[in-house]
């Protein structure tokens, strides 16, 4: 505080001032703590909290200035101390150290490493979201209307923080409609097309608005993609030959697959070549033929042939036990579909030998990090010894060593017959890259010896859905959409008995503090004795 003679001169005034400053300091704390506490109580109007906050800051300012005036001798000494040389030097070093630490922290926010220690990487974005965030070129403004204290708001904030570590192109603003009605009004005045709902993330890319359907990572990533994509991607499902129903939600239907495609920003449509006079639409990004049960007409096959030649992407799913005519088209590119049924007596689904489960995959973008996949009633594909010129074939899915291709489909047994059946491993899915040639443009093909794998019955349980989506994304050359690693949130919920609850409560609230006091008492008693 002040020097001794000063204290003697203005002792009483000083003491009164000291007391006033202390009171104001306490008042500041009460106001700010009150504002902090009240912000968790929804019924307190925002204006009152804001007022308390500002009053608190004013008191703090008064406290700081008052203390400075009271300690002015000390501060004056700080500014012009006896050893002036020493003081200037000290001021310079102080400033230098502050600047160095400031710069260090500035770098720290830009160049940093992050480790997620949770058992299942709970707080890490999927590789897919990271790739998309890192690839962002334009700035996006994200707005969400979320009520204070809503857990969804917290989830969204956590999520946006993770995106924030990947890119600085995303600007998030959370608006609490109860606290900031003015901001809400302003937003909807400038964005009249936005839907006025809570917990919806609205993304503004400068020209149009995109809305995420939820606050989960999937929804947000899909919406970010949608907001940055300029051209529309069309997926067509061929119809008219007993293909799997793309809208159905029965076991074999593709309803889930269609919804997943739409979430990834694809426009999904049916295609009947009869109606389009055997022309695949020009705007088709991917054409899916999902396990036709009846053969395609020769005109239809030549339409598909022409489609592939002009650079169209074809996803051919071939059902076992049928002859659709696609086999001929594929054989031109070195893929021969076998007339067999893949049986795996060991790795299969619940003992059904005709539903092989594949757990490891050859290295390819489509199958990277993929969970096990199931192929019920599949036929195998064989690759030509030497692929036709300009064609690169990659096997994606292969059955185990003990599996075999059953050729006599009338025989219901799961026994390997060496004279008839083909021994595994067998290829179940093949990706083909076609280079440009005199008669055709470069393109990509995907053939799977099964259609049921993408059906609702198997879509979400295993890795089947990811395999299907990754395939479409690879065909559409949307490679940044590929690779969705699984993330299982194992429940950590505890079930405590009443006995356990009371034991825990007693031990933590009474037992532990009492033990501490006893230890203190013991030390005090020993010291008094000695």
């Amino acid at each position: 505080m002040s020097t001794d003679n000063k204290d003697n001169m203005n002792d009483n005034t000083n003491k009164a001032l000291d007391r006033a400053i202390t009171v104001i300091g306490v008042l500041a704390i009460v106001l700010l703590a009150g504002a902090l506490g009240a912000s968790y109580v929804p019924s307190v109007p925002f204006v009152a909290i804001q007022a308390a906050r500002y009053a608190g800051f004013a008191c703090i300012a008064f406290f700081v200035i008052g203390s400075a005036v009271q300690n002015k001798d000390f501060l004056a000494d700080l500014a012009k101390n006896r050893t002036t040389q020493n003081g200037t030097k000290s001021l310079i070093t102080t400033l230098a150290i502050l600047v160095i630490i400031g710069v260090l922290n500035w770098f720290g926010t830009r160049v940093h490493q992050r480790v997620d220690l949770t058992a299942n990487q709970q707080f890490s974005l999927s590789e897919q979201s990271k790739k998309i965030a890192k690839g962002l070129k334009q700035e996006l403004k994200l707005t969400a209307f979320i009520r204070g204290g809503d857990p969804q708001g917290r989830q969204l904030k956590d999520l946006m923080a993770e995106y924030g570590y990947q890119t600085d192109k995303l600007k998030l603003e959370l608006i609490d409609p109860d606290r900031e009605p003015g901001k809400v009004k302003l937003f909807f005045q400038s964005h009249p097309s936005a839907s006025q709902r809570f917990n919806v993330l609205i993304i503004d890319n400068g020209t149009k608005l995109t809305e995420a359907q939820g606050v989960g990572e999937q929804d947000v990533t899909a919406a970010i993609l949608k907001a940055t994509q300029t051209q529309e991607m069309n997926v067509y499902f061929l119809q008219g030959h007993g293909e799997a129903d793309m809208e159905g939600f029965q076991q074999d239907g593709l309803g889930q697959a269609k919804q997943a495609l739409e979430k990834q920003n694809y426009k999904v449509q049916k295609l009947s070549l009869f109606e389009t006079k055997n022309q695949v639409p020009e705007d088709a990004s991917v054409l899916i033929v999902a396990g036709p049960q009846k053969p395609l007409m020769p005109q239809e096959l030549s339409a598909l042939d022409a489609y592939v030649k002009r650079g169209g992407k074809l996803y051919a799913m071939l059902a076992a036990g049928t002859d659709s005519g696609l086999e001929g088209l594929l054989s031109k590119y070195g893929i021969t579909a076998q007339k067999d049924l893949v049986v795996d007596p060991r790795a299969n689904l619940f003992g059904d030998a005709a539903a092989p489960v594949i757990q490891t995959y050859p290295n390819h973008a489509i199958t990277q990090g993929l969970r096990p996949t199931i192929y019920p009633a599949a036929r195998s594909l064989e690759l030509a010894e030497k692929a036709p010129t300009g064609v690169t074939l990659t096997s994606l899915v292969e059955s185990s060593d003990v599996s075999f291709g059953k050729r006599n489909l009338k025989d219901r047994s799961a026994e390997f017959n060496p004279s008839v059946d083909k021994k595994g491993p067998l290829k179940l899915a093949v990706a083909a890259i076609l280079d440009a040639s005199a008669s055709s443009k470069p393109t990509r093909l995907l053939a799977v010896g099964n259609a049921q794998f993408a059906g609702n019955g198997f879509y979400s349980g295993a890795g089947n859905g990811d395999f299907f989506l990754n395939g479409v994304n690879w065909l559409a050359e949307q490679d940044n959409l590929v690779s969705i690693p699984p993330k299982t949130n194992e429940p950590k919920t505890l079930f405590l008995t009443g006995q356990q609850q009371s034991t825990i409560f007693l031990a933590t609230v009474a037992g532990a503090p009492a033990a501490m006091l006893l230890a203190g008492g013991f030390v005090w008693w020993r010291r008094r004795r000695s």
Binding site: T22, R114, M516
Partner: protein, 236 residues
Amino acid sequence: MGKIWAIAGREMRSYFVSPLAYVVGALFLLVSGYLFSLILFGSREASMRGLFENLSVVFLLITPALTMRLLAEERARGTVELLLTAPVRDRDIVIGKYLAVCLYLLFLLALTLIYPAILAWVGKPDWMPILSGYLGIFLLGASFMAVGLMASSWTSNQVIAAISTFAISLIIWLLPASSSVVGQQFGSVLEYLSVLSHQQNLGRGIIDTTDLVFYGSFIVICLFLSIRSVEVYRWR
């Protein structure tokens, strides 16, 4: 280094021979045990994330009481002259005192190890986030302690030291709340300066070098300013 430990040792002894360490320890256990039980019964989750977030409030409240006397008392009693004329550097005094109070912080945190033990008894906690959470709460507590030491170096009045500690800590705590008022650019700086937001990452199991750099810098600045302030006192 020997001198620093000597000062830290003297300080630690003065905590543990008086009832102070035990009374504060017992009250700390009472409050945190109550919070632990309530959070556990409410969330029914074998994690300590909720407790760590609430413990930061507890530290905000008890730090002024633990640090107010560190240097202010020496100054008021005049014993600081003894210290200053002894063949130790100002740096040794400040770091030694800080070390002592950090060791006491570790002692408090060691007492709370009964909570993870209880979690292991009733469930299967995810250990790594608990470990990083302890690191986070220690760094947060150590930052508050550094503020307290700094405030204690300014004055011989312990009440002023305590209230200054509380005021500074609370303002730093509340900085993000005012970030929306001052605009995006400056607001993100304010958000960065909050000791609390850096603890949140560690509390949920994410170790980010940004947070470690922040706490390290924060503590270093406070200690540096404390040393300067002791030096200035010596010149007078």
